[in-house]
């Protein structure tokens, strides 16, 4: 007997045309094997359709966004160099014109003013909180990401990701353990890193440490400490502050902050 195997998946999905469905039904009347297969496949499909999505653990996107930031900055760097090169050509051309004018005639006073270089204020640390704010993210231990090299954009991404996680934790009301899967269970290394962070003087008495990463920052072995800050008085944190300190002498290498949107 030939079995209509190529029709059975669609038969179970309910997507067969009526005529084909009739073919299968007729076949099933006389074929024990296909009948049994259909029952098995239906049970499997039902079991699969009942599998539910699980939430993505905190920290999965961090290294990806850090790499995206690095690539972006590199591209921008190339664009900036090209711009400078083009600007240099333009300046040279302008100079030629000016020289030509000077040679040609009047002794025009040079009214050129040097361009003011207005450096806008960077992302500094948020002002210290007055009172302890409860962390909704539980600190689980140090994470080893030693093959990851962060830069300022990556640190900012870490801050943004932490802010999102705080919001998510507040929404679910369930305290999340940060990065459980990535954590290396080493109490020694965790306390070593915590000491370094404390030694650097960045941690205010009210800051709540929610994440600690061992990685590199622009090629320097570093600890990345993520704190939540709040207005105190038992209120939810409203800022994430990230500090990067060098592993060797605990000096501050970089910082980023991110506002937590009110829930």
């Amino acid at each position: 007997m030939s079995h209509p195997e190529d029709l059975l998946a669609d038969y179970i999905d309910g997507t067969l045309a009526e005529r084909e469905r009739a073919v299968v039904d007729t076949h099933l009347e006389g074929c024990v094997r296909c009948g049994a297969e259909i029952r098995q496949a239906e049970a499997a499909k039902t079991a699969l359709s009942e599998l539910e999505d699980v939430p993505v653990p905190f920290g999965v996107a961090g290294p990806v966004l850090a790499e995206a930031g690095r690539r972006f900055e590199r591209r921008r760097g190339v664009a900036w160099e090209r711009f400078q090169w083009a600007a240099g050509l333009a300046a040279a051309a302008a100079l030629i014109v000016v020289v030509a004018l000077n040679v040609g005639g009047g002794d025009a006073r040079n009214a050129a003013t040097p361009a003011a270089t207005g450096a806008s204020g960077g992302a500094g640390a948020a002002a210290g909180a007055e009172a302890a704010s409860p962390g909704v993210i539980h600190f689980a231990g140090i994470e080893a990401q030693r093959n990851v090299d962060y830069d300022d954009a990556g640190i900012q991404a870490v801050a943004a990701e932490a802010a999102d996680a705080v919001v998510a934790a507040e929404e679910t009301k369930a305290p999340q353990v940060a990065f459980a899967s990535a954590v290396q269970d080493s109490k020694e290394r965790t306390s070593l890193a915590k000491d370094c962070v404390q030694h650097s003087g960045i941690q205010g008495p009210q800051d709540v440490l929610i994440r600690l990463i061992e990685a590199e920052f622009e090629g320097t072995p570093a600890y990345i400490a993520v704190f939540s800050e709040g207005p105190g008085a038992g209120q939810a944190p409203d800022h994430i502050v990230v500090f990067v300190v060098a592993k060797d002498d605990c000096r501050i290498l970089s910082t980023a902050s991110q506002r937590i949107p009110p829930g």
């Binding site: 195997e5 190529d6 059975l8 998946a9 669609d10 179970i12 024990v32 094997r33 049994a36 297969e37 029952r39 098995q40 496949a41 239906e42 049970a43 499997a44 499909k45 079991a47 699969l48 359709s49 009942e50 599998l51 539910e52 999505d53 699980v54 939430p55 993505v56 653990p57 999965v60 996107a61 290294p63 990806v64 966004l65 790499e67 995206a68 930031g69 690539r71 972006f72 921008r76 954009a153 991404a157 943004a160 353990v177 459980a180 899967s181 990535a182």
Partner: protein
């Protein structure tokens, strides 16, 4: 009212023309789907995390060559499935010492003891799923768990639709066997033997699956 969300393809264009936040938006939008696909494929939270990161890093690297011929999601799924294949292969090659006493993903303890869906039922299904050959597993997860149409699955996996149908049916039977659901009126074999069989779905399994397409383990990007 907020604006309607941007299309994936528009986000790609925006990222390529200098809008850095557009990539983060893509990641945020698809992270959950990619992670869950990887979790079902590999069965381990740690592997799912690695595969998710590998997939997005591949997307990042190749974004500038994404021409929009396929939908972005099709491409993303393809990259994710490939990342899972690579990871599973790596795991199988890894020395036993690195992996504990048993390095077969199919025999690993179920993932994610802290996740919400760890009812014994879904753990059983996940365990059984790992005993189904990868090519069949991928097709079933995409179609039966993620509700993608057979045509989309075919585009993702890179085989004809007929092959998807065949893999779907054979894979479902293999899964049922791995779950201990036997054909009625027959002496049951050892439960869980389906995945290690040469022909997990019974007679005709191999030929049918590969008749219409190459028996690839990797989907070409």
């Amino acid at each position: 009212m907020p604006e309607p969300p941007a299309r994936d393809e528009d986000l790609v264009r925006r990222y390529l023309s200098g809008d850095r936040a557009a990539f983060a938006a893509l990641v945020e939008r698809h992270e959950r789907r990619v992670y869950n696909l990887a979790l079902r494929m590999t069965g381990r939270e740690e592997d799912a995390r690695d595969a998710t990161q590998d997939a997005f890093l591949t997307v990042l690297r190749k974004l500038s060559s994404f021409r929009g011929e396929a939908a972005f999601t099709t491409w993303l799924h393809r990259v994710t499935v490939n990342a899972c294949y690579d990871l599973l292969r790596k795991r199988q090659r890894a020395p036993l010492l690195d992996r504990g006493e048993d390095d077969r993903p199919a025999r690993e303890p179920p993932p994610a003891p802290d996740h919400a869906d760890t009812s014994s039922l879904s753990m059983d299904v996940q365990q059984a799923l790992l005993q189904v050959p990868e090519d069949f597993r991928a097709v079933m997860i995409l179609h039966d768990v993620h509700d993608l149409r057979q045509e989309e699955v075919a585009a993702i996996v890179g085989v004809p639709v007929g092959t998807v149908k065949s893999r779907l049916h054979r894979g479902r039977i293999a899964l049922a066997k791995a779950m201990g659901i036997q054909q009625e009126g027959r002496a049951s074999g050892e439960p869980g033997s389906a995945g290690s069989d040469e022909s997990p779905g019974g007679p005709g399994f191999g030929e049918r699956a590969d008749a219409a397409g190459p028996s690839e383990g990797t989907v070409s990007p």
